[in-house]
């Protein structure tokens, strides 16, 4: 009896295994002539519903069977690599930096996408790139060992804005400063003249998020909102087209001397070391909201959506809402980046060339998939309605068209489930001009020069030492600003930096950049 029972169980088990295998086979098969396209747009918050309306509309337009990949963002690359190792991969993939390209190409994940083919199958994209190639590097960003992998996009970027406590300025009868000297005078007043009027000397001028504007006044790019607090950009593209490490420039020593002086005098909040943000949404500045400092840096839209009107709560960004909740009578005003001794000024900006989108070796095996990918790319650069659909979704359901431009009315995770933001190419210049014109114009009206991020070409000399160089720099910079080491330590630091691989890496990157520019 028992034996019979177990035989039946085993039979059931085997049958269920058979079916499990069978259903998997079916999933891979073609769906009525439509070619299956699997996209992985990056680190998102939710799995997409295959039957969502937006997904269906995209599938119909390109005659594809679209499957959006979802990979848990907490261990994104670990999880993804496990799937790669198991032979699974999407057809289209967005990567974070060009330095990942070498690894993915050598590892057999990413496939070549010849420029001639892009020009032939995506003519609108190609024409737009030709006319919007800001750094003259759009067509050579994705080159590796002389071949082209994937596409880079001309991105619309707004540099960081300086946000001042308007009520503090008003209390002291001060104007928003424009030069570095005026800037210092205002910060000094914030420290010494009790801007919040509570009778206590408990206010500082600024903290680490504004460092980028001070480095900018000396022509150097510095990243804001990183962890730890701030970070000088790894490499910067000079106006002569030659990339360099801003870390070790003589100008950096001047900035550090100035910052150390401000730190000593209390103009810089002593707690900048642990950062302005104490948890929660990354761009909130608790030091600013709690009235410890009088100026901070963020993207304009974090505070105001589409105009400088601070009285209309419809216009408030997420940081402004939090600020107002704590300071109902507080007010803010945007200010320009301070102008340095040589007339330079600017704040940090992100990539002008970005949304690095590649096709995999699986996609490349089927020319219909490559064609579909290029058609989807071209549509994003020629049809604003399509671009709006994949980025904002359907009007009334996912976004509302208001006087401040398109406003999302669905929460981010839900939006993802509905298939929005899955096959888009981000805030490209084309998108900003044709879909988001109001917001773009506002962002630029309150900011000035941007120091744009440079895509370092993939090479071992750079990638194997950059983490060490970063650590060296962070340690030395914090020590010099806080006075743990004298400013003259800078020269020792530069020697260490060069010896730890800085010289070799810089030379190699310059060589590769020169070779790229020549093509």
């Amino acid at each position: 009896m028992k034996r019979w029972f177990s035989i039946v169980l085993i039979a059931l088990l085997s049958v269920s295994f058979l079916f499990a295998g069978g259903s998997k086979e079916q999933a891979v098969a073609d769906d009525g002539g439509a070619v299956r396209m699997e996209w992985l747009v990056g680190q998102t918050s939710a799995e997409v519903d295959d039957n969502a309306e937006v997904v269906k509309m995209i599938e119909e337009r390109f005659n594809i069977d679209l499957k959006a990949w979802y990979v848990d963002s907490a261990h994104f690359w670990e999880n993804l690599n496990v799937r790669f190792a198991g032979g699974e991969m999407p057809d289209v993939l967005v990567i974070d930096t060009t330095s990942q390209l070498a690894q993915l190409v050598d590892g057999g994940v990413v496939a070549e996408l010849p420029i001639e083919l892009i020009r032939e199958k995506a003519p609108n994209y190609a024409a737009y790139c030709d006319s919007h190639d800001v750094n003259n590097d759009l067509w050579n960003t994705m080159l590796y060992n002389g071949k082209n992998y994937g596409v880079a996009n001309p991105m619309e970027q707004v540099p960081m804005a300086l946000i001042w406590r308007k009520d503090w300025l008003d209390n002291l009868g001060l104007e928003v400063p424009t030069t570095l000297e005026e800037f210092e005078a205002v910060l000094t007043a914030f420290v010494e003249q009790d801007p919040d009027g509570d009778g206590k000397k408990d206010t500082a001028g600024m903290a680490e998020r504004t460092f980028n504007a001070i480095f900018g006044a000396y022509g150097l790019r510095c990243v804001t909102g990183a962890n730890p607090g701030f970070k000088v950009e790894e490499m910067q593209l000079g106006s002569d087209g030659v990339p360099f490490f801003p870390y070790i420039r003589p100008e950096a020593k001047e900035v550090l001397a100035l910052l150390h002086d401000w730190y000593q005098r209390g103009l810089i909040d002593k707690e900048f070391i642990t950062g302005e943000n104490h948890g929660g949404y990354q761009w909130l500045s608790h030091a600013f909201m709690n009235g410890q400092i009088g100026v901070t840096c963020a993207q304009p839209y974090h505070y105001l959506a589409a105009s400088t009107d601070t009285s209309d709560s419809q216009n408030w960004g997420i940081c402004m809402q939090e600020f107002k909740a704590l300071n109902p009578d507080g007010d803010i005003v945007f200010g320009p980046a301070p102008i340095g001794p040589d007339g330079l000024s600017g704040t940090e900006g992100w990539n002008k060339t970005g949304r690095l989108t590649v096709i995999t070796t699986k996609c490349a095996q089927d020319p219909r998939k490559v064609d579909a990918f290029l058609a989807m790319l071209d549509a994003y650069y020629s049809d604003p309605d399509y671009a709006r659909l994949v980025n904002y979704g359907i009007e009334g359901r996912h976004f509302a068209a208001t006087e401040y431009g398109n406003v999302r009315i669905m929460e981010g995770t839900e939006l993802r489930k509905e298939g929005v933001l899955q096959v888009d190419f981000g805030s490209t210049s084309y998108f900003a001009e044709n879909v988001d014109a109001t917001k773009t114009a506002f962002g630029h009206s309150v900011t000035g020069n941007g120091y744009w991020r440079y895509n370092v070409p993939a090479c071992e000399e750079y990638s194997s030492v950059i983490a060490t160089l970063d650590t060296l720099t962070e340690q030395a910079y914090f020590d010099m600003i806080t006075g743990a080491k004298p400013i003259d330590y800078f020269d020792t630091f530069v020697e260490q930096f060069k010896a730890a691989g800085g010289t070799v890496a810089e030379a190699k990157v310059q060589e590769l950049q020169a070779a790229k520019s020549a093509t």
């Binding site: 590892g107 002593k270 070391i273 983490a467 340690q475």
Partner: protein, 305 residues
């Protein structure tokens, strides 16, 4: 010799049911613990996930060379050892003392309440704990510094000051783990024969003497075992904790192996490098456990094996 072999054979035969029951356990360890160790070879390769282990090139000791020649390696290793040593010195005895004190409380309700409250920090993630302590120790808003200022001292930026950073790590670790760590000792104490206490009392031993001569010797085996296991963790620092407290001003005293590897590895998917570091760490840990166990066996009768 012949009889001995026969004896063992008989033994196996006699207890064959037990031996058969062992097979699943042995298989489990072979498949899930010893099998994957094959993966350690990627420490000697330039590993690419898609190519797999068989397809990746062997590079010998390249990644170990990279690790040992890194300018930060020595300071990182030193920090790891010092911080772990402090933790072992202070955080290891803390739950024992706590549990001995708890055991002396007569009021059952109060004891339970203290116990439950002391467990709570264990369930808070390090991100949140670090947030709490950053505020608590803040030079401008933290209660400790407000008190210091009232007393006429200069405020101290505990978290960013290299002099205090390691103390912050040890104290927060103790705060988080003391209650949870005491569970195993409390369990051991409940097994102590009450007759021993009665006998001690008859002999005129007070509360302190009872703790020293009855409770402590009774839980000594579990203390020894816990200590041996703890000594294996000396190089396995607490990444979550250190990462959330670390700033560039404290790299010199607080950067440990795991935070260092995180910064080095995040740039690229450096599987081989991180595996090499893990192999190095675990080899040292293994040696430490063997040594501690040998010492424990020599000085007392307890040990893991």
């Amino acid at each position: 010799m012949g009889t001995k072999r026969l004896g063992r054979k008989n033994n196996v035969l006699n207890f064959r049911d037990h031996y058969i029951m062992l097979i699943p356990g042995i298989l489990f360890f072979l498949v899930f613990c010893y099998g994957p160790m094959y993966g350690l070879v990627i420490a000697f390769q330039d590993f690419y996930p898609l190519r797999g282990i068989s397809g990746s090139d062997f590079v010998g000791l390249k990644h170990f060379r990279e690790l040992f020649t890194n300018p930060f390696f020595l300071s990182v290793l030193r920090n790891t050892l010092i911080i772990s040593f402090y933790k072992l010195l202070i955080c290891f005895p803390a739950p024992i003392i706590f549990c001995l004190a708890l055991n002396e409380i007569k009021s059952h309700g109060f004891k339970k309440a203290v116990q439950s409250i002391s467990y709570l920090p264990h369930f808070i993630s390090w991100v949140v704990v670090s947030g709490i302590f950053l505020e608590f120790l803040s030079p401008s808003r933290g209660p400790i510094n407000i008190l210091l200022k009232e007393l006429g001292f200069e405020p101290i930026f505990f978290v960013a000051d290299p002099k205090y950073f390691r103390a912050v790590l040890v104290i927060t670790d103790m705060w988080k783990s003391v209650g949870w760590g005491s569970i195993v000792y409390l369990a051991a104490i409940t097994n102590v024969d009450p007759a021993l206490y009665e006998a001690a009392e008859m002999d005129g031993a007070g509360r302190i003497k009872q703790i020293l001569h009855v409770t402590l010797p009774s839980i000594m085996p579990i203390i020894t075992v816990m200590f041996i296991m703890e000594s294996g963790k000396i190089l396995n620092d607490s990444f979550q904790q250190v990462y959330n407290f670390l700033t560039p001003t404290t790299y010199g005293v607080g950067d440990v192996i795991s935070t260092f590897v995180y910064r080095m590895g995040i740039q690229n998917m450096q599987y081989s490098f991180t595996t090499a570091v893990d192999l190095f760490k675990n080899t040292i840990s293994f040696i430490l456990v063997v040594i501690t166990n040998a010492i424990a066996r020599k000085t007392s009768d307890y040990g893991l094996w």
